[in-house]
């Protein structure tokens, strides 16, 4: 009951936001939602499948770039370009899985990082196609029956897609498949001994995760009307990672919250100083030392301590 109330309240706040907040903050909220989707998709891998990846920006950027290239270079309609972005990201996830799933732990981290850098390298180096580090400017927001060019309708489009995706990911984590992923995170040998094909489960997890990361990437490109290799950079992967950890891995809600907090801090700090990356670094160190289970973990500890004094 309390949960239903809380969810209704959150939905109501997001629906009412464009009426109450100045447009700058609607823009910021849009960005938060997009990153929340990105962080949740990464949480599927880290918090559920136990696959810590340092290359998640690749799927974000693959989605965004594929869509942007089809729009700008092939003049395709958004009806084609947008789904194509999702397909490209999902395929990217599958390819990464084929190469990286042979390894575990540190090797997996390093391989995902290196593979993501290949994608970055293409976007950066193939100037004739991608515009190199100048990126692809002048992308128009889509017309899906109605125009989403203005900030408010676009915000609603993002909020709806992110909300539906969150629901779908939540359903997946509650399903037998999601339970099996958590089992694999705990012990691969145990799951194999019970007849689970661990590799296929992890492969599917990476593809699903990449799909949602690609969706976040497409929305990101529409939001900025622009894409550059920065979308594929290690820093983007790193930001996603800290959103997941600072929020609380394995909870979906936590990483979404973490995304909101990090985006807000980035916006706030960048408007006052040049030292955002320094602050981000300090957040990394502080989270690891003092809140390894994130905001959600802190909250759980706090509320259990309150209950039994």
């Amino acid at each position: 009951m309390a949960r239903a109330l809380a969810i209704s309240a959150i939905v109501a706040v997001f629906l009412a936001a464009p009426f109450a907040a100045p447009s700058y903050y609607v823009g910021l909220l849009t960005k938060m939602l997009i990153y929340a989707l990105f962080a949740m998709s990464l949480d599927l891998m880290i918090g559920y499948a136990g696959l810590a990846s340092l290359g998640h920006a690749a799927f974000f950027g693959l989605g965004g770039y594929t869509m942007a290239l089809l729009l700008m270079r092939a003049h395709a309609s958004a009806w084609i370009a947008f789904p194509a972005g999702l397909v490209a990201a999902t395929l990217g996830g599958a390819v990464f899985a084929l190469l990286a799933l042979r390894a575990r732990g540190s090797y997996f981290l390093m391989i995902t990082l290196a593979l993501a850098q290949v994608v970055w390298g293409i976007a950066f180096g193939w100037r004739t196609l991608t515009g190199g580090d100048d990126g692809l400017p002048g992308i128009k927001r889509p017309v899906f029956l109605i125009s989403f060019a203005d900030q408010t309708p676009f915000y609603y489009l993002v909020a709806t897609l992110v909300g539906l995706s969150a629901l779908a990911m939540w359903a997946v984590t509650r399903s037998p498949y999601g339970l099996a992923l958590r089992g694999i995170r705990d012990s691969e040998t145990r799951m194999r001994a019970m007849g689970f094909n661990v590799w296929r489960h992890q492969f599917a997890a990476m593809a699903i995760s990449a799909f949602f990361a690609g969706l976040a990437g497409c929305l990101f490109v529409y939001n900025n009307r622009f894409v550059s290799p920065d979308a594929l950079h290690v820093v983007t992967s790193a930001e996603g990672l800290i959103m997941v950890i600072a929020g609380g891995a394995g909870t979906l809600f936590g990483p979404a919250l973490g995304a909101g907090v990090i985006i807000f801090l980035e916006d706030f700090i960048s408007s006052h100083t040049q030292r955002w990356l320094l602050v981000l670094g300090v957040i990394y160190v502080a989270t690891t030392l003092f809140a390894p289970r994130g905001i959600v973990g802190l909250w759980t500890d706090f509320s259990t301590r309150k209950r039994k004094p």
């Binding site: 779908a168 359903a171 997946v172 509650r174 399903s175 037998p176 498949y177 999601g178 339970l179 099996a180 958590r182 089992g183 995170r185 705990d186 012990s187 040998t189 145990r190 799951m191 194999r192 001994a193 019970m194 007849g195 689970f196 094909n197 661990v198 296929r200 489960h201 599917a204």
Partner: protein, 246 residues
């Protein structure tokens, strides 16, 4: 037909021969205990049967089907279940979820993405019933990590039998248990359905004879004796090894 037949299985790690041509066959419904000190090759043999390692040479067959090169999950799907010498559970999940996953594995409920686990009522009720049958009903909602070591050993056996395997491998389930807990676990194994073929590793001779229809003794990667209680107790080589240990 033999439930399990092992023919000339060898395994070497680097230069060390852990298994030197083991041949062994277990009839359906039989309870065989593998006796032997640590390092005799018992666990390596289990790994070769369950697929956690692949035999360097030789052949392993499950109910007549050659499974020598199959991965562990494929063997599990053919009706083989096992426990591990070092407790191997899903520590961050509840006891109920551990059992439910074992049932999902057995029922091939694996790539179900959207319907919640909670709506698979039949799986849940079977898991609950299993826990009740084995006196673990109160532990159902506890996180495995928070159970006592003895409880964890019990849960691991329940997970292995949840799938109603045709062949059950128990790798020293009594390891590290107190005498009272050991009795409880021996009792548990004795209560298992008679048609379930069981191979169990055990170091304690008395425990072994308590459970076994037949005992096989491993020593330095070789099978040195095989037979019923009287035959094993009378075997000079076996008593030498065991007396030498004590």
């Amino acid at each position: 037909m033999s439930a399990l037949s092992i023919e000339g299985v060898t395994k070497s790690f680097g230069g060390v021969q852990a298994l030197r041509g083991v041949t062994l066959s277990v009839e359906a419904g039989q309870r065989l205990v593998l006796l032997g000190p640590n390092g005799a090759g018992n666990t390596t043999l289990f790994h070769a049967i369950s697929g956690n390692i692949l035999a360097s040479s030789g052949r392993v067959a499950l109910f007549g089907e050659d499974i020598t090169r199959l991965p562990p999950d494929a063997r599990a799907r053919r009706g083989l279940a096992r426990t591990f010498q070092i407790t191997n559970l899903l520590p961050s999940l509840s006891v109920l979820d551990n059992i439910r996953l074992a049932l999902c594995g057995a029922d091939r409920l694996t790539f179900r993405f959207f319907k919640g686990m909670a709506s698979y009522r039949e799986t849940t009720s079977r898991a609950t019933r299993l826990l009740a049958d084995w006196g673990l009903a109160d532990a159902a909602d506890r996180t495995v990590r928070n159970l006592s070591y003895g409880e964890q050993r019990q849960v691991e056996v329940v997970m292995a039998i949840a799938a109603a395997p045709r062949l059950l491998l128990l790798d020293e389930p009594t390891a590290g248990l107190s005498p009272a807990e050991t009795l409880g676990l021996v009792d548990m194994v004795r209560k298992l359905p008679r048609d379930m073929t069981i191979v169990m590793i055990e170091h304690d001779m008395d425990v072994a004879f308590e459970i076994a229809d037949r005992v096989a003794v491993m020593h330095r990667g070789e099978l040195i004796a095989e037979g019923n209680e009287a035959e094993i107790r009378a075997n000079k080589q076996v008593s030498d090894i065991y007396l030498g240990l004590e």
